[in-house]
């Protein structure tokens, strides 16, 4: 027993004040009676009698008690309590959805075993419940009773997201190193590599299960302006036998491709479909059905228009005329003043000439000679009167077939080193062309303006421009590439997102969207109601490999050999507060009743 703030006990000096106040307040109530005859026999006030004491009834003592409790509560009393805190980690990754031979899923079995393990505990301390996917996290503040913890466990559902193995290992290692924890129970598909810290009690439910899976489903345009798309689908066989897998691709519900492939045990293959007709949403389905239905389906989306639509934002919109001459390209020119991020949703890509967006665009974007001090991309710009090319990547898509020796440039600007965009073409004063990906979108920045030179007058410049537009239009925001559990930036103009389950979630452009645990097609809804589909897949063959789950290496910093009992300060202020409230309410009730009785009397 101890006090956090012993100085507060000085408030006990208030009690004599209360006594004085009570005595001062003890004035008689005046009551008119029919006759005072019978009262004459009674004695006068006790305090008015010689040697008499003030009339301190039980209410006075109740008030003294309340004040004492308040002072005691202010002093922060606590008791030392022997506790044995418990951590429960339940693997809720996609692999836990796999059905076992028992007819139940791995997740259900893990939860039942955890429940049984918790039933055997004595519940001496708080219980923290964690899940592992997409990232390890605690589901709620620590529970004080086993019943609450078991109830919380029963509410957890498996996600479509895989585990991040490294993060999970670090997380378990941290828990195993926590000296205050008496025990860490981990129930999951992955077994722990020896030596297992003594504090950790693993429950492995990852029995080998045969499985076939789709690894990835990507779409791209081979040729700029072509209608058909090229689909690449990776499939894998994680069963001990050779299997003939049947893959059907549908576009907006109609079958657009079909393939059969015989795969040996633990073999992987990539199926190419070069001419997939345009559709809004594609679904690839793998047969035969197996233990994990989740990875037998994958989704992809692509623009269904033939032309590449470009939003050209520039203070000199006339520069877009050169782009308009390219077949299959439709350009809409706007000045920076009239540009709104909401418009981007209807274009395949955007070009900002001598301008920069105020937030990260939701489409692939080209920046042409961006102004210095741009906060979104953070490009370091050094203007120069004469741009000189010193080197370039020879194998890059952007530099393909460009004869840089014939490229003549005048004024421009050099870029400094950029955190996520890499140099493709460089000059003496820095980078001249940068490219990079962010939030599943592609970005290209050039330190010179190619558009005034398009056409036969400057052929290398035309080729470089076409390469850039092809690169940006080839794999747009509508292609696949999003994976469950991996947050993405909300594109500009998106007001809310409709999840595959139908749930609607509000979204703010430029912020990370983290509600990405479901596999399927997410609809990005703009302020005007326009919907853009976005496919999110498991696309993780490691997770799909149910035949051999990798061992988790968990190491405890302090060897974690013994679970030491922990002495914790347990505050009793709550109990005191409860007693204070109860006593105050009781006194108020009695005072009220007494007041009413006296009022109703004479």
């Amino acid at each position: 027993m101890g006090l956090l703030y012993p100085g507060a006990l000085a408030f006990f000096a208030l009690i004599p004040v209360l006594v004085l106040a009570y005595l001062a307040k003890e004035r008689p109530s005046r009551v008119t009676v029919s006759s005072v005859l019978a009262f004459r026999a009674l004695r006068g006030f006790r305090r008015e009698r010689f040697g008499g004491w003030p009339r301190l009834d039980w209410m006075f003592f109740a008030e003294v008690l309340i004040l004492s409790l308040v002072v005691l509560a202010l002093a922060g009393p606590f008791i030392w309590k022997r506790t044995a805190p418990l951590a429960v980690v339940l693997d809720n990754s996609a692999a836990m959805q796999a059905a076992t031979r028992l007819g139940k899923s791995r997740f259900d079995i893990a939860r039942e075993k955890l429940d049984a393990e918790l039933s055997a505990e004595d519940g001496g301390g708080e219980i923290s419940v964690y899940v592992t996917a997409p990232q390890p996290r605690r589901v709620a503040p620590p529970f004080s009773t086993l019943t609450e913890a078991r109830l919380a466990l029963s509410r957890i559902k498996p996600t479509d997201a895989p585990n991040d193995q490294t993060t999970l290992e670090n997380f378990l290692s941290n828990l195993a190193s926590e000296a205050r924890l008496a025990k860490v129970i981990f129930a999951g598909a992955n077994a722990l590599a020896a030596p297992v810290p003594a504090r950790i009690h693993p429950i492995a439910v990852g029995d080998a299960v045969a499985n076939v899976a789709i690894g990835s489903f990507s779409l791209r345009r081979e040729v700029l302006g072509a209608e058909a798309l090229h689909a690449s689908i990776t499939i894998a066989n994680f069963s001990p036998d050779t299997r003939t897998l049947d893959l059907v691709v549908t576009g907006d519900g109609k079958e657009v491709a079909h393939a059969k492939e015989a795969l040996g045990a633990r073999e992987t293959a990539t199926l190419e479909f070069p001419a997939i007709p345009p559709a809004r949403i594609y679904e690839a389905k793998l047969a035969p059905d197996d233990a994990l239905a989740l990875d037998n389906v994958a989704y992809a989306t692509a623009g269904s228009v033939k032309n590449v639509s470009i939003l050209f934002i520039s203070p000199t919109p006339a520069d877009a005329e050169g782009l308009n001459s390219i077949p299959g390209v439709a350009v809409t020119a706007k000045s920076p003043d009239s540009y709104s991020p909401d418009e981007l949703g209807t274009y395949d890509l955007a070009i900002f000439e001598y301008a920069a967006p105020k937030e990260l665009p939701g489409v692939n974007t080209m920046l042409v000679m961006p102004p210095p001090g741009d906060p979104v991309f953070g490009l370091t710009v050094t203007p120069t009167a004469k741009v000189e090319i010193a080197g370039w990547r020879t194998t890059d898509t952007l530099t393909d077939s460009v004869n840089f020796r014939l490229l003549s440039l005048r004024g421009g600007e050099y870029f400094g080193a950029h955190p996520w965009m890499s140099q493709v073409v460089g000059g003496n004063g820095g980078a001249l062309v940068l490219k990079g990906e962010r939030g599943a979108h592609r970005f290209v920045a050039t330190g010179f303006n190619p558009f005034p030179y398009l056409g036969r007058r400057n052929l290398p410049m035309s080729v470089l421009t076409l390469n850039a537009i092809s690169y940006l239009a080839g794999l747009g925001g509508s292609s696949s590439g999003y994976r469950t559990g991996q947050p993405w930036l909300v594109p500009a103009g998106v007001a809310r997102v409709i999840l595959p389950s139908g749930r609607k979630v509000g979204a703010h452009p430029g912020t990370l969207f983290t509600d990405v645990s479901e596999q399927g097609v997410y609809e990005l809804v703009g302020a005007g109601g326009a919907q853009t589909p976005r496919a999110v897949n498991l696309a993780d063959l490691t997770e799909s490999d149910l035949s051999s789950s990798p061992l988790l290496k968990v190491e405890a910093a302090n060897s974690g050999s013994t679970a030491e009992p922990v002495m914790e300060k347990s505050s009793v202020s709550d109990y005191l507060l409860f007693a204070i409230i109860a006593l105050t309410a009781l006194e108020a009730l009695i005072l009220y009743r007494r007041h009413r009785t006296i009022e109703a009397a004479p």
Binding site: R30, T32, A41, L42, G44, T597
Partner: protein
């Protein structure tokens, strides 16, 4: 019911009609009635003989006595007359406290019930109010049971209030009474015992048959609603007393109240008066039916 208080149900009125006022002596009335009068008259009850005088009615000559004594005697019979009933209701301020006990209302109910018994028996009733606020009740005799509505209406406008000396006030009332009869005094009698005995004693001295009906509040009798340090104020004299009331004091107070009632009862019984105590926490109808003898009534 017809302007009467709610307690006067048809059943209760029927029970009241079966009652009559009992007196210990005979009183002369103002008209024919059901009570034997000290006067001689024409009732069936024989009283005495007297010598025949010319002009006497032949029908009353006792011919058997003439045969035995050879003298003419006239048979005399007792007269039956109505009873003059006086009902005094205390409407002083003390009857208004404690308000929740409705003492004055109970006093009015008692007075009306007694008046109805008298009126239903063919007697004359004079209702007098001592103290009080509001319209005064006309101090004249009424007879006929239908007049109960008129009495009820008159009492309805009265409110308790004011202060009076019990003995002096009764003496004044007594002076205005010309004929003796039955007297009911309805009061809480919460005054000095000396004043009560002097007041009641005057009526016995005037050969009146008296019934004292004491009305006390149920809460008043038990000292309910008083707790802790209380300054009690007398409703009539304004006298103030400061007392501490706890359980023990409450018991002491109750004992004192009961002793006061016992003393009044003892005085009444010693003087041959009727005494009845009604506490307002009782059912009025049940009280009236059970206390018939104490009230000086008979079936």
């Amino acid at each position: 019911m017809f302007g009467l208080p709610d307690e006067f149900t048809p059943g209760f009125l029927a029970r009241l009609e079966k009652l009559r006022i009992r007196t210990r002596q005979r009183y002369a009335g103002l008209g024919r009635g059901m009570h034997l009068s000290p006067k001689r008259g024409s009732s069936l009850e024989f009283n005495d003989f007297r010598h025949y005088s010319p002009g006497d009615d032949f029908r009353y000559i006792d011919w058997g006595l003439y045969g035995r004594s050879d003298k003419l005697y006239i048979k005399l019979f007792q007269e039956e007359e109505d009873l003059l009933t006086y009902i005094f209701v205390d409407a002083s301020a003390s009857m208004g406290y404690p308000a929740g006990d409705r003492k004055f209302e109970s006093a009015m109910l008692t007075a009306l019930a007694l008046a109805y018994v008298a009126l239903a028996s063919g007697d004359r009733v004079m209702l007098r109010v001592l103290g009080g606020k509001g319209a005064k009740v006309n101090p004249s005799f009424v007879n006929g049971r239908h007049r109960i509505v008129e009495l009820a209406r008159r009492l309805h406008d009265l409110r308790p209030g004011g202060q009076f000396d019990f003995a002096t006030s009764l003496a004044t009332e007594l002076l205005s009474i010309r004929r003796a009869g039955k007297v009911f005094i309805v009061s809480d009698f919460l005054m000095l015992l000396n004043s009560v005995t002097r007041g009641l004693g005057m009526f016995t001295a005037a050969s009146m048959d008296l019934t004292a009906v004491q009305i006390l509040g149920g809460r008043e009798l038990n000292g309910q609603g008083l707790d802790g340090d209380v300054e009690v104020v007398d409703s009539e004299s304004g006298e103030r007393l400061r007392v501490s009331i706890g359980e023990r004091e409450r018991t002491q107070y109750r004992d004192t109240m009961l002793r006061l009632t016992r003393e009044i009862k003892s005085f009444c019984l010693k003087r041959g008066l009727h005494y009845a105590l009604y506490t307002t926490d009782q059912d009025f109808q049940q009280f009236f039916v059970r206390a018939v003898r104490d009230l000086g009534l008979a079936h």
